[in-house]
């Protein structure tokens, strides 16, 4: 697989972890990964948003255990640290959806430096998703 696109919409810790792990694995094998953060997920592309991610709902009580075991497995257990590692791989691009940014207050001034920028869906779908070998939606 030479290229992969991931679209993420949720910002809770456990729901965002899986697609980021998939991206980390794919990038380690040299796959070009482009990730579009839509809806609530766009908040993860700010320092404050990434730091505030937590497990919610029925799994909230398990957060401490999950983070501990994620670290034991060898992964960073902080979302922003994972985003930094993805960027450092040289194979992953992080994009904020312009509509989601407008809704949730994410803009160029508070976007983390690891993100490529704020983009529209039309560009992402036609220039990235349509040309990728594989697409995943979370």
């Amino acid at each position: 697989m030479k290229s992969m696109v991931i679209v993420m919409r949720d910002d809770s810790y456990d729901k965002i972890l899986t697609p980021l792990v998939f991206a980390y694995l794919a990038s380690a094998e040299g796959t070009q990964v482009d990730i579009l953060f839509v809806n609530w997920a766009v908040k993860a592309l700010t320092v404050e948003g990434a730091a505030s991610l937590c497990m919610d709902g029925q799994h909230a009580a398990d957060e401490s255990m999950v983070r501990e075991n994620v670290a034991k497995a060898g992964l960073p257990n902080d979302i922003y640290e994972i985003l930094k590692a993805l960027k450092a791989s040289g194979c992953v691009n992080l994009y904020a959806c312009s509509l989601a940014g407008a809704i949730f207050g994410v803009n160029e001034s508070n976007l983390i430096p690891e993100a490529e920028g704020i983009v529209g869906a039309s560009w992402f779908l036609n220039d990235k998703a349509a040309k990728a070998d594989h697409c995943q939606y979370f």
Binding site: Y24, E29, G30, A73
Partner: protein, 79 residues
């Protein structure tokens, strides 16, 4: 199969998917063609992941043995 001379050893004991593959990729890049990497893993998922990774990347899995809960793979860098 003849005994291979291990050039480098990567111990991923205690780590789980995706880290054994992530670290194997990284370690292999630092080796030269003909070198042999020994990978030690305790994640049972590697029994499928590492042979599959070798197939995809064109490396040769020389051996896979299991002892005391640890799996040892010897992989020769071929490209």
């Amino acid at each position: 199969m003849s005994e291979a001379t291990v050039t480098s050893t990567l111990d991923t004991s205690g780590k789980c998917c995706p880290m054994p593959i992530v670290e194997t990729n990284k370690a292999m890049k630092s080796l030269t063609i003909g070198d042999v990497l020994e990978i030690i893993a305790t994640d049972t998922g590697t029994k499928k992941d590492i042979p599959s990774w070798c197939d995809r990347t064109g490396q040769t899995l020389l051996s896979m043995t299991e002892e005391n809960g640890a799996i040892h793979y010897c992989v020769r860098k071929d490209r």
